[in-house]
């Protein structure tokens, strides 16, 4: 999913993910955040997630996955260790990404 997503489409995807996750995840998320996601989602776009669509990195955009990661960090992690593990993983990807981009720039230079 490389195409650029607008915010309402991202909300539609996160909304679909929350619908699928249900219970525990929804209860841990503040009502105001849920309201924003539900109210500002692109309902038309959301139709593409029917009951047989698996929700994974192939069907969800990277923006929606990033928003799910932020929800996990802010509300869903049960322990500090769990939160730290995810933060470390995300930082590692940042470092990897910057390392990959530096040599290319150097070559050009």
């Amino acid at each position: 999913m490389e195409e650029h997503m607008n915010k309402s489409q991202v909300y539609a995807e996160v909304y679909a993910a929350l619908s699928a996750l249900g219970g525990e995840y929804i209860r841990k998320t503040p009502q105001k955040v849920l309201d924003v996601i539900a109210d500002r989602r692109d309902k038309q776009y959301g139709q593409k997630f029917d009951e047989n669509t698996p929700l994974n990195e192939k069907t969800l955009s990277k923006e929606a996955i990033a928003m799910l990661a932020s929800l996990k960090l802010d509300y869903w992690c049960k322990t500090a260790l769990e939160k730290q593990t995810l933060q470390d993983l995300l930082s590692l990807h940042d470092k990897k990404s910057s390392r990959q981009s530096v040599p290319k720039d150097n070559k050009k230079a």
Binding site: K7, V10, A20, I26, K32, D35, V36, G46, P54
Partner: protein, 490 residues
């Protein structure tokens, strides 16, 4: 400008509101078509009795009916299992979230809704009359222990129900309030707070059930029969305890300490194959079994026992049942060891008529009834906690008792079980008809949940992306609450 304030409701709500306005307030709105209501009229509504609402009908019900005290949602068609998904009427999970925001609700009945997966009763603290039954996909009921004024509780036939937290605590704290309790047989271990790891249970909850034995009933909702109505097995607490004790004794006798899931499943199925015989008499007499004369003491205590041969009770206590009894008996035994399983309806035999071929879709129901009448309506078990594999304890038993002790129908994949069983459309997953409502089955939920828990979903996500999305969300949330929720964002 007045027209701007008129509200149009979905037809199911319109019908219920019109009846309510006419019966209780003498307001006759005339024909239903194109009707609109004022906020004042909607504020008069305290009870809603909805028949066959569709997905999304209850959106914003908490805003529309601020004085709602009683809500009943039902659907007359029971045997949804064999219907295509777009033929089934049901509210969906988003409707349940709206119901959970009706803070003044005192009576709630949700029956036979196919597409709801969970409900948090704790959000409705004023509830005193609750009926959550026969909702095929309902997996979780939360917050029941937060209800302190319950006098009527019914919860049965929710075939996928895996979690009903603190049911034992709810029973203890409401024991002096109860006037009617009807729970599923499979919920008995949860009702007494049974711990599958050490076999202990909540004595106080057990005593409360004993104390209220005249008003507590245990039932198994079996399949709906268009000719004979619901096949409902109902037993009292005495017989429920008898069945539970027998089940515990069986597990004690057949399982070594710390046996693995696999060993437990195989041992349980072997026990059933060795000890439970097929009830041919009941099968030949079109499933109208009477237990009279078989065990007078038990019969006297059984409150209502129509079609009991399909029950876990007949399987475990009488050692004599038909196919569904084997499956339900096994489900109960495995449940006591903390292994989730589900009884699955099917037809014994291969799908030679190609019922699920899209070319036959229009005649699906006719074909299906033709098939069931000419063949064998049957039940097997799907063991969710063991890779979702299937077993057919009934056919295993009949093979075993004829001398073939190989237990050929134990822990088969869906592909293998389908070689000589035709699964219902719900179970087979052939119900992939496009629909405009959203419902995510357990398999989608489980897969997504797992990938979030293990961070597999985030394997290519960068911290900077997360920060950007958090900021975007923050911006929108702050736009609404201006930081009133107290949360700070980086």
């Amino acid at each position: 400008m007045e027209n701007d304030e008129l509200i149009k409701l979905p037809i199911s709500l319109t019908v219920a509101v019109c009846h309510e306005l006419k019966d209780k307030h003498g307001i006759d709105k005339g024909n239903f078509g194109g009707l609109r209501f004022t906020n004042e009229e909607l504020a008069k509504i305290t009870e809603l009795d909805l028949e066959g609402p569709r997905a999304g009908d209850l959106k914003d019900i908490h805003k529309l009916f601020p004085n709602l005290r009683g809500l009943s949602i039902k659907n007359r068609t029971i045997d949804n299992e064999y219907h295509y998904i777009n033929e089934i009427r049901s509210i969906k999970q988003q409707d349940v979230w709206s119901i959970e925001r009706c803070k003044n609700l005192e009576r709630l009945s949700i029956t036979n809704q196919e597409f709801i997966s969970e409900i948090d009763l704790g959000k409705l603290p004023k509830l005193f009359d609750v009926n959550i039954s026969n909702n095929a996909s309902l997996a979780t009921i939360d917050g029941i222990d937060k209800l302190s004024e319950l006098f009527s509780l019914a919860c049965y036939g929710n075939e996928w129900l895996q979690e009903i937290k603190n049911l034992d605590k709810a029973i203890v704290q409401n024991k002096d309030n109860f006037s009617k309790v009807k729970l599923d047989v499979q919920l008995f271990p949860k009702a007494i707070g049974y711990n599958h790891l050490d076999g202990t249970y909540n004595q106080e909850a057990f005593d409360a059930l004993e104390q209220e034995k005249h008003i507590v009933k245990w039932c198994e909702f079996l399949r709906h029969d268009n000719f004979k109505g619901d096949k409902n097995v109902e037993i009292d607490t005495y017989n429920m305890c008898k069945m539970h004790n027998k089940a515990c004794q069986i597990l004690h006798d057949i399982l070594p300490k710390n046996s693995s899931k696999f060993d437990t499943i195989v041992a349980v199925e072997r026990y059933l194959a060795e000890n439970v015989t097929y009830d041919d008499d009941t099968f030949k007499s079109r499933h109208t079994k009477s237990v009279a004369g078989k065990d007078d003491k038990a019969t006297a205590r059984v409150v209502q026992y129509f079609d009991g041969a399909n029950s876990a009770y007949c399987c475990l206590v009488d050692n004599n049942c038909v196919c569904e009894g084997y499956a339900r008996g096994e489900q109960y035994l495995l449940g006591l060891k903390g292994i989730q399983a589900k009884t699955v309806n099917c037809v014994g035999g291969k799908d030679n008529l190609r019922l699920f071929d899209q070319k036959n879709a229009d005649n699906y129901i006719d074909n299906f009834f033709h098939f069931t009448l000419s063949s064998n309506a049957h039940s097997i078990i799907r063991i969710d906690d063991y890779y979702g594999l299937y077993s057919d304890p009934c056919w295993n038993a009949t093979h075993y008792q004829r001398g073939d002790k190989s237990m050929p129908y134990t822990l088969l994949t869906k592909e293998d079980i389908c070689k000589d069983h035709t699964l219902s459309s719900r179970e087979a997953g052939y119900d992939k008809v496009p629909s405009d409502y959203k419902f995510f089955p357990q398999r989608v939920k489980a897969s997504l949940e797992k990938s979030i828990r293990h961070n597999a979903l985030f394997k290519n996500t960068q911290a900077s992306d997360v920060k950007a999305q958090r900021a975007a969300l923050q911006q929108d949330v702050m736009g609404i609450v201006r930081g009133a929720n107290g949360r700070t964002y980086e």
